[in-house]
Symmetry: C2
Subunit: 478 residues, 2 copies
């Protein structure tokens, strides 16, 4: 509604309500107003435009009845997600390119009201989170602490939190680091931005294909040259890195997204050897969801096997605690730590000290560990239920990616296209995701050849939803 | 203490306590352990190294007695700030380059224990902050809100907060924007990193000299070509921008740091006209402390005078609320908003939704406005007291930069060098700051010619400290 304030004219042929209605409609049609974006409340907009509230009400009614916006109880008015509109060229290039993000943003933010079942591989289960504990810790800290907490903090994050994280990483992920090597930051995206400053601009980075698309988008927004590298059941092939003369490789050795591949120790060593061969080569280990493993011991980190400071280790609390707390951490090898302190030490921390203190107590008082153990059980339950319910699919699909993470993969045995499967599911109000969302180039063959592969995430669905959802999916796919 | 864990060897000539002692001492000498950095507690370090606590105690005692570390009651052990060490070459290039930052970090974090009076221009007064209100809001939100707040939020920040900020900016700063144009981020540094992604890498940016050094460091860490531009009593000269063919200019028109220059409307128009002349030209307005003006009305923002979408407006809550809450905001002109949504929309927000909600209520319930009014009075009181106490200095110094901000400037009439003045103050345990800290190049003449200019910040000092500090400064400078 960027120029709502300029749009309104009295004395034109159109009455005010029409002008508001048409303005918002245009903004939506042209993709300027985002799917899922909240509109101002009628009260605040009326006040802002200095017109009567009923005028705004009237305009909203009209948009509502035409399906441009939807009303959500206790929430307000939101821009609808209008598939055709976004897919049609009518929206123009911009929204074309970010339509997908918009829809995703909407899904994330509002739980995708238009679907009855959403098998998003990114959703997590917050229902078991110990809100009361978290809030109690927060309240205690806020009541006891005074100005000190509100003063500027250490650029790398508070020492106490870094110490706690280093202990946790050592115990549960086999990561060898001292607090000095840790940088706490507001999310992986930010830490990767910081890493760009540390590694400099002349980086040629190798990624698997398929890979974690967000990381690819971020590297693409850097000056980095990105190349995709063939992978097999062991993950990224080391010799490819030599052929393509890359300087860094982005990998998820404990649980590759989306394939679920766990990199065996042999391949890890090959990669470490590649990195050792030349100065300035690094492996970026994204350990995004390694907490969730349902069979055997958790896979130790690659960083733990690194003797020569070649691994940049990145982890997050988004999956294990909550996406909204915005706390991730990066463990730098010593030479890069020196570069960081030389070149980037002036960047102030992006995480509030209060939040750092809350998180520190949540972990050091043992609540985090307890929560993880609980969630491992919860997710294992969903994982097992998924496998049980999906048994009838084995005839027409190959199921993989089990025993870890928050999603399964279904590879279609027949030659149905991904879009066919998605459409069939959508018609039943089920949202499913194709592997191609994670493909960053076609230069390399996906390891499944031409067969369509679907991602079924279960983190955000309760048992009942899984039962009904898979049942419904049968009608769509079998 | 990066490799403490590897350093320890039994069976060598040295006993464990010596090894710990020598390791830490070396880390400090080599600038690897930061001045002001906290050491692990003896308990946690002993536990980590699986040795007896008394061994660690012994090592710390030794370091303490030799002045490498200091013990702070209830806080723990901290690395001392050892002037000579940092200034001597002995620390090597790295610490040489970040020594200043380390000292500053220490000052910020720990209040610079070794000074009796610190006239830091960056310090603010938190004593009047309504902690109880802030904490009450936090507690209410935390008690009433459930999982929704912990879900991922909107990449630009929650709509409600952006709406509140847009209303505040409109009312108090004359900024014209809709919430859609606002991006909420974890500090100015992050927002500038984001801006780099939006503007792209081929930017030639103009800065005043002297200017805000942190911004300069950040731009320098980008691919940006930085050029300094002569300034006069009206600020940056517009014709210089044409001569030097820059694409963007970083300015603080409401209150230039450190000179305190307020850019008159005429000069503002010249700059806006320069920006209008060519596509892709932008003015980056850093409105860092415009809330604090002690005479006449607050100076309206440059953005408010911009008809053609040429101003990128950046503001922060660090000065007006607290550095630690890590919330800043950037208002993008519409064309850049489009670029942002096209190229950067996938970057997730860096501010926790809980913090956003707390801040939103703090502002929209009127507490922010009240706090600002109170702080304006508090700071005006300090400002007036400073001027009164500094009267005796008028003979040998020209005082400027009054009526706004949190510091004054003293330009030395005689030919004493900045270092002389600083040393004289330091000998009296007074910490003062020279203008040269803010000089980013010598290519342009500081507007004071060769005369030494000192910055005297008063935000962090109470009336008593101001009285005694200035009294003591007399002996040093008069």
């Amino acid at each position: 509604m960027n120029d709502m304030n300029m749009e309104l004219r009295t004395g034109t042929g159109k009455c005010l309500y029409e002008q508001i209605y048409e303005h918002i409609r245009t903004e939506i049609r042209e993709g300027k107003l985002l799917a899922g974006e909240k509109l101002p409340s009628t009260r605040s907009l009326a006040e802002y435009l200095q017109i009567s509230r009923s005028t705004v009400d009237y305009a909203y009614e009209q948009l509502l009845s035409e399906g441009y916006i939807e009303a959500r109880p206790y929430r307000g008015y939101f821009v609808c997600h209008i598939e055709e509109l976004l897919n049609s060229g009518s929206v123009g290039k911009i929204s074309g390119t970010y339509a997908a993000d918009l829809i995703k943003a909407e899904q994330d933010t509002h739980g995708g009201k238009e679907w009855e079942f959403d098998f998003s591989p990114n959703a997590i289960d917050m229902s078991a989170f110990p809100f009361s504990v978290w809030n109690r810790i927060s309240r205690t800290i806020l009541s006891e602490e005074k100005s000190e907490l509100f003063a500027a903090g250490h650029p790398q994050g508070e020492w106490e939190l870094r110490w706690t994280i280093s202990r946790y990483l050592h115990a549960s992920r086999g990561v060898n680091c001292m607090p000095e090597q840790i940088i706490v930051g507001a999310g992986n995206d930010y830490l990767l931005m910081l890493l760009e400053k540390i590694l400099g601009r002349h980086v040629k980075i190798a990624m698997e294909n398929p890979t974690y698309k967000r990381a690819w988008k971020i590297f693409r927004s850097f000056a980095y040259e990105i190349t995709t590298v063939d992978m097999d059941e062991a993950g990224m092939k080391a010799e490819e890195l030599r052929k393509k003369e890359v300087t860094a490789a982005y990998i998820m050795p404990s649980h590759q997204f989306p394939t679920g591949v766990v990199m065996p120790i042999g391949r890890r060593m090959e990669l470490l050897n590649w990195a050792k061969e030349k100065e300035g080569r690094y492996l970026i280990e994204d350990d995004y969801d390694s907490e969730f493993r349902y069979r055997g011991k958790p896979i130790p980190s690659l960083q733990g096997a690194d003797q020569t400071g070649k691994v940049i280790y990145i982890g997050t609390f988004s999956k294990a605690i909550a996406p909204a707390i915005r706390v991730s951490y990066m463990v730098l090898p010593k030479d890069l730590l020196t570069v960081y302190r030389e070149k980037c030490y002036f960047y102030s921390s992006t995480v509030s000290r209060i939040d750092q203190k809350i998180l520190n107590e949540f972990i050091s008082d043992g609540y985090f560990e307890r929560h993880l153990n609980k969630m491992r059980k919860v997710y294992k339950g969903k994982h097992d239920l998924m496998l049980e319910k999906l048994r009838p699919f084995c005839g027409r699909f190959i199921i993989s990616g089990e025993n870890a993470g928050l999603h399964l993969l279904l590879c279609c045995r027949d030659n149905r296209a991904e879009q066919e499967l998605i459409k069939a599911a959508n018609q039943k109000k089920i949202r499913v995701y194709g592997l191609s969302d994670s493909l960053v180039s076609n230069s390399t063959e996906p390891i499944w050849g031409d067969h369509a592969v679907m991602l079924l995430g279960y983190g955000g669905l309760d048992d009942q939803a899984i039962r009904l959802g898979i049942e419904r999916l049968k009608d769509a796919w079998l």
